[in-house]
């Protein structure tokens, strides 16, 4: 049985003199994984490498135990919605999806049925018989997604899949990813919509200049960034008093009182000590309504890890 992981082992790829990715080692478990990084950081290269559209100059890749150099077996379990906008000339959305299913070996009747189902999943049933060339950007995005999911793959690779989608379709698309992930499959996506990545991802891979700068669950990644204190937003009554009590602690480096004076933004270098201090303050009779991490999101990680390199 194949290993249910996507593994990059010391993978490097150069386009002539230009670096694509450099010595990337990753083990991606099933679930939703987001590749995050600025333009040209190597996200698409990683996706192209794992689907065999480009080949590594060094290192090796396996996708659930299969090599990208074996498209016959790999693509049977992989669906890739690329960023490339073009569809075969003159093809309707339905043709585009049904045609690719013929290549998967489905009989024409089953291919048509699956194509119709896939288009329905992405809300393109009515537009399915219009030419792809006449589609809006969002519709093209969806038809590529339909093509990628039509054969019910184990690994779904999606390059900027939320670009150009309206809020309703975006929510439906995210639900589709979650459905895939819930069934033990891989969903690997790249995105610039950081808030959404934050909400939908089980884990993130942060890339800059062709190198992986951090990977894992967002909170775990956050914990590893020692030079940046953790930020917490505390909603409480008597904010000034709570602030003065917290300031007595060595691990607290900065406190800001929020505008409505009903809360504090606290920066601490030790999460455990901070939790203990809050407990003590609460036991002393102060009302702490809520405590929320303010920087356990991709935006903050992006800023901490990549901001300096942008």
């Amino acid at each position: 049985m194949s290993a249910p992981e996507i593994v990059f082992d010391e993978v490097s790829k150069f386009y002539g003199e230009v670096l694509g990715v450099n010595r990337v080692s990753l083990r991606i478990p099933p679930g939703i994984t987001s590749l995050v990084g600025p333009n040209g950081s190597g996200k698409t290269t990683l996706m192209n490498l794992m689907t065999g559209l480009v080949h590594p100059d060094r290192g090796s890749i396996t996708v659930r135990g299969l090599s990208p150099r074996d498209p016959e077996r790999l693509m049977r379990l992989t669906g890739y919605a690329t960023q490339y906008d073009a569809a075969p000339r003159g093809a309707t959305g339905f043709d585009f999806v049904a045609t690719s299913l013929l290549l998967w070996g489905y009989e024409p009747r089953e291919a048509r049925q699956r194509a119709a189902e896939a288009l329905e999943r992405v809300g393109l049933t009515e537009a399915g018989h219009r030419k792809v060339a006449a589609y809006s950007k969002g519709m093209r995005q969806r038809v590529r997604l339909a093509q990628a999911v039509a054969h019910d793959p184990e690994v779904l690779v999606l390059d900027e899949p939320l670009n150009g989608l309206d809020p309703v379709v975006r929510a439906e698309t995210i639900a589709l990813f979650r459905d895939f992930a819930a069934r033990g499959r891989h969903v690997l996506l790249s995105s610039h919509v950081l808030q959404e990545v934050d909400v939908i991802s089980d884990q993130v891979v942060l890339i800059a200049n062709g190198m992986v700068v951090a990977e894992g669950r967002i909170r775990n990644v956050r914990d590893e960034i020692e030079e940046h204190p953790s930020q917490f937003l505390i909603r409480c009554s008597g904010a000034s008093r709570v602030a003065s009590l917290l300031f007595e602690r060595d691990h607290v480096s900065e406190i800001k009182v929020v505008d409505d004076r009903q809360g504090l933004l606290v920066m601490t270098r030790d999460r455990n000590e901070f939790a203990a201090a809050l407990n003590a303050i609460a036991l002393a009779g102060h009302t702490i309504e809520s405590v929320l991490p303010a920087d356990e999101n991709v935006d903050a990680l992006y800023e901490y890890l990549i901001g300096a390199q942008r």
């Binding site: 040209g40 290269t45 559209l53 073009a86 290549l103």
Partner: protein
């Protein structure tokens, strides 16, 4: 995966690709190349019919009367015996007999007669018949010679060559330009299966386009010829000749197709391989025997029913380029070309395995 499954994949790829090859805007000029000689022969037929009508409208004489005319006869005698000519043209010119002497005015007259098959052009000088030109307006032998020339110099060396360049180079390079190649590379098919499917599509399209073009042109070539003559021809070598021309066209597509498919995978600019191959093929006639076998034209010409015609008086250098290589027997020609094609396709299969998508950056 079984061989049967891969064969079905090849056929599926070919079927999908055929639509694109036949109806792509990039392919339309290929139809023009294939059908241009047909247009020429149709125009010839129209011209021949027009001439026949014009000549018959005035007078049609018997063949015996036409053959009875002799040089030295007076114009009046000819007119009296043969009757009104289809065309009568008089003109004069001046000629200086000897240096210093006065110019002499020479009176010429041309009479055209028509016997339903042949046209006689009788040229009289000062009323005396000087030259007799009798020729058939159209004959099957002349038409066959013309077709043979068109097939060798137009179809093989130009139309099929450049047509295959257009069709087969586009199979991969065109998709790279359209940014649609990933569609194929993301299919669960081996790269060599993809190559085979695309090659099959190109071959079918090129064979249909040029096979049909050559066959229709063959038909059009016979159109102006008298039906009795055509019937006799079809009772004899016509079908075999047509088959051999078609086989030559098909094998030319097979060979050039493989070369241009491989070139489309290896180089970006189609002009370079086209020029190199054109020079190589043109120089084939005077290459050493071993190198001659590395040419598509070498095998294909051997399949044609007649060698490429070279007119008397053609300059030696041009003759060297036009003269075909010594013919090979047809089984050897077919085997040789198939082996050459297989070798080129093997190289192409190695190249397609290394092929990467690079539409212009990450």
């Amino acid at each position: 995966m079984t061989l049967n499954f891969r064969s079905r994949q090849i056929w599926t790829i070919a079927r999908l690709e055929l639509r694109r090859v036949f109806f792509s805007r990039r392919s339309f000029w290929v139809y023009g190349l294939a059908l241009f000689p047909l247009l020429i022969f149709v125009m010839q037929t129209i011209a021949v019919e027009y001439q026949k009508r014009t000549l018959s409208a005035v007078n049609t004489i018997s063949p015996a009367l036409m053959d009875s005319v002799r040089e030295g006869e007076r114009v009046e005698a000819v007119l009296e015996r043969l009757g009104k000519p289809s065309r009568d043209r008089e003109y004069s010119f001046r000629r200086r007999e000897r240096d210093g002497e006065e110019e002499v005015r020479i009176h010429n007259r041309q009479l055209h007669y028509w016997d339903g098959q042949r046209r006689a052009n009788l040229i009289f000088q000062e009323g005396v018949l000087q030259n007799i030109h009798i020729r058939q307006l159209v004959s099957i032998d002349l038409q066959r010679l013309m077709y043979n020339g068109v097939f060798h110099y137009y179809y093989l060396k130009l139309a099929i060559f450049f047509g295959c360049l257009g069709i087969f180079m586009n199979l991969f390079r065109g998709e790279m330009l359209d940014k649609t190649l990933h569609f194929w590379l993301l299919a669960p098919a081996r790269r060599d299966v993809l190559l085979a499917g695309k090659y099959l599509a190109g071959l079918l399209a090129a064979s249909v386009i040029f096979g049909t073009g050559a066959a229709l042109t063959y038909g059009a070539m016979l159109w102006p010829v008298e039906s009795a003559e055509v019937r006799t021809f079809f009772a004899g070598p016509a079908l075999e000749q047509m088959l051999r021309y078609s086989a030559a066209a098909l094998l030319a597509c097979l060979g050039y197709g493989s070369v241009f498919l491989a070139a489309g995978l290896l180089v970006r600019n189609p002009i370079i391989p086209a020029v190199v191959l054109l020079m190589w093929e043109s120089a084939n006639g005077f290459l050493p025997a071993v190198l001659q076998k590395l040419s598509v034209l070498h095998y294909v010409q051997s399949l044609c029913p007649m060698p490429a015609p070279v007119e008397e008086g053609t300059p030696a250098l041009v003759r060297m380029f036009l003269a075909p290589a010594p013919a090979t027997s047809w089984p050897l020609a077919v085997l040789g070309l198939c082996s050459l094609t297989a070798a080129i396709l093997y190289l192409a299969a190695q190249a397609v395995k290394r092929l990467e998508i690079n539409y212009g950056g990450d």
